[in-house]
Subunit: 157 residues, 3 copies
């Protein structure tokens, strides 16, 4: 049941995760997390100050599933899509079954009228776990460089 967490596997996890968002397959997005997990979107300023709260916060996969359902039902956000471009994962040290990983990201937002804007930049701070035959995020903290991102968030990053 052991699975090695190497650079290629981590890059593929990042890629598949981003693809679920960018290709509007949001229902698959929670499946990249462990059942008990931490998903948090915060800003670089707040992260540096140690603030635990986030613009978005979930600590179970079920909460992430609820979020996707809300997005599908409410659908109040102006229709848009994202396109993620990711840097190379930097694998850190492990503690127990998990290892730390950091990956830079840039997200372009595509509005319905075709306008493209750089929507967010930042880094993923991850704790990655080999869960039987695949990798999942035990923790993914999304640290956005831009402090003004909160009002615009609908889709996950």
């Amino acid at each position: 049941m052991e699975r090695r967490i190497d650079l290629a596997a981590m890059a593929k996890l990042n890629h598949d995760y981003a693809r679920s968002i960018d290709e509007d397959a949001l229902e698959a997005w929670p499946s990249f997390f462990a059942e008990t997990c931490l998903y948090r979107i915060t800003t670089a300023d707040n992260h540096a100050r140690g603030f635990e709260a986030g613009l978005i916060y979930a600590d179970t996969r079920a909460m992430l599933e609820d979020r996707v359902k809300s997005l599908r039902i409410a659908n109040i956000y102006e229709r848009h899509r994202y396109r993620h471009i990711l840097g190379m994962p930097a694998l850190g040290e492990g503690s127990g079954p998990d290892i730390r990983c950091e990956t830079a990201f840039v997200v372009i937002r595509i509005m319905r009228d075709g306008v493209l804007t750089v929507f967010a930049t930042g880094k993923y701070l991850d704790r990655v776990r080999a869960d039987s035959d695949r990798l999942v995020f035990a923790e993914r903290i999304v640290v956005c460089d831009n402090a003004n991102i909160d009002a615009m968030l609908a889709l996950p990053l």
Copy 2:
């Protein structure tokens, strides 16, 4: 004459392809395609609806060569350059000698006066073939996220 189509080889093909455009070596661009091929630029909306037409369409390498010649001679487009940034290739299943591949892209446009804009985002949907000692595109469908791209296209994506 067999050549393995692996992740590293595919990433290098993508990189060399983008470089021929970004570094204004357009004459090399058709050489990344098979002699009989499919090159098509379309939008995510049209692709989802199954529309076969494209903003740009070519089904032989000779047509791509003609396109480059036209660009060089006509030169009616306001001078600009592109810079591609590519995601990790996602290799799919093969059918016969070809295998499927999908790669996300973001293209920044650099105008003569130095203005940089996010020009296009999307994904390459490829059918890649090992042609004697190198890889070529039997098919490259460029699916742009932004629907308003047509009026601005001059250089290939």
Copy 3:
């Protein structure tokens, strides 16, 4: 003391270099260069014409260290950060202990108020050296696609 300069090692060097800038760890930035080195920022136009001068020029690691000190003390630039996204390194031929490498980049600038702009695109033209147990830049020429970058440069690219 030999260390192989392969794609993974080069990608990691690029990543660590960019991270020192993006994460405001500028004091680490000069350590990526050889003691006698060349660091130059220029434009694609000037580079194509063979102009040797650069918008920023340094030929020792000590000069780079001085530059970081100036940035820290003067602090006259409007506070901002960068986020680099890098392409795949293209390793070239070696001459003696060094090998050539070229890597595309896009840099997003994050202003204090959160505005994100595509600040620079271009390519790194590197001469990379295996210096005992690590890789360093004997030469890094930053060739910016956009010609109007000079007035805005504060942080290194």
